[in-house]
């Protein structure tokens, strides 16, 4: 029997990132907010971090940017981890699916809305719905192609993300 809080542990309602030893809660809840945050700056993900920081945390974060030169890189890696945490999936998969969804938004969102799935659903749930819709409408060969595309490392990112780095970030969240 599944422990009652297992899904909540891997798909939390409130996503927090750790930057310089401090935990920062993010505002994003819905699919629209997360996909919009990714789409606002797909290269550097500033729509996620610092875009989703609470206004009340802005002054402290601004202070850090004035003291350190590496904040952009820290923000980026925090955003990558946050996407993984909010989606409950590998961040590459969630990022790629979000970008694909943005590309065909009116079609995908339109079909999902007709089926009662709104973009105000939680990010992880909306991604599940979007993926299952795409998967359902594919034949066997296309399904493999879809999965392959979703697992490809995104190109043209501002900073490199190595597999070990991604593991380390997820580990840090598990510790949190």
């Amino acid at each position: 029997m599944m422990p009652p809080n297992l899904l909540a542990a891997v798909r939390p309602d409130i996503v927090r990132v750790t930057i310089l030893g401090r935990s920062w809660p993010l505002l994003g809840r819905t699919a629209a907010e997360w996909i919009g945050g990714i789409g606002a700056d797909p290269r550097q993900l500033t729509g996620i971090v610092p875009g989703m920081l609470h206004d009340s945390d802005a002054a402290d974060m601004l202070q850090l940017t004035q003291e350190r030169d590496d904040m952009e890189q820290r923000w980026f890696h925090a955003a990558v981890a946050a996407i993984g945490y909010a989606s409950g999936r590998d961040w590459t998969w969630a990022y790629n699916l979000s970008m694909q969804s943005l590309g065909g938004w009116q079609y995908l969102n339109g079909i999902l809305m007709r089926q009662g799935v709104r973009h105000t659903e939680r990010y992880c749930d909306w991604l599940d719905a979007a993926y299952s819709l795409m998967w359902e409408r594919c034949d066997e060969a296309d399904r493999k192609g879809l999965d392959f595309q979703l697992m490809l490392p995104p190109k043209d990112l501002a900073f490199p993300v190595t597999a070990s780095h991604a593991k380390q970030m997820l580990g840090a969240f598990a510790a949190d």
Binding site: D41, V49, G51, D55, A58, L62, M71, E72
Partner: protein, 137 residues
């Protein structure tokens, strides 16, 4: 070392100051911070509280400006000019916006549309042409 695209020159009191351009993420945070101050100002119970908040906002803006000035000698010179009253924060505020002076908009007035730009961008069909297009043969 910052590249040319990351810096700009701002002229104040006859001196050209090289400033670092704010990164998009920093700009986002600055706007969030200013939003908090505005909300606190609206909710302030007394003039004294409002004054304290306004001074705090000015102090943080000044910190931002100082952080953007590339040469410490320029920062020191600017501080001296402010002490002598030759330069105030309003003269320096454009630095946080990349040297561009934002157009002032009063809170209670709607922004006037830029008619010349709208006219150029969207050529309007004469009414008789629209009516003719709607007529069926």
């Amino acid at each position: 070392m910052t590249s040319e695209a990351e810096t700009f020159t701002y002229d104040v009191c006859g001196r050209s100051i090289v400033c670092k351009r704010m990164k998009p993420g920093q700009y986002t945070i600055m706007l969030k911070m200013l939003n908090v101050f505005r909300m606190q100002l609206d909710a302030a119970a007394s003039d004294e509280d409002r004054l304290k908040l306004a001074l705090e906002m000015d102090r943080k803006t000044l910190n931002l400006v100082e952080n953007q000035i590339q040469d410490p000698a320029d920062a020191a010179w600017l501080e001296e000019q402010m002490l002598y009253g030759r330069v105030d924060l309003e003269d320096l505020r454009p630095i946080v916006f990349g040297g561009v002076v934002p157009e002032p908009v009063a809170d209670d007035e709607p922004k006037k549309p830029r008619k010349a730009a709208v006219k150029k961008a969207t050529p309007v069909k004469p009414r008789h042409a629209v009516k003719a297009a709607g007529r069926t043969k």
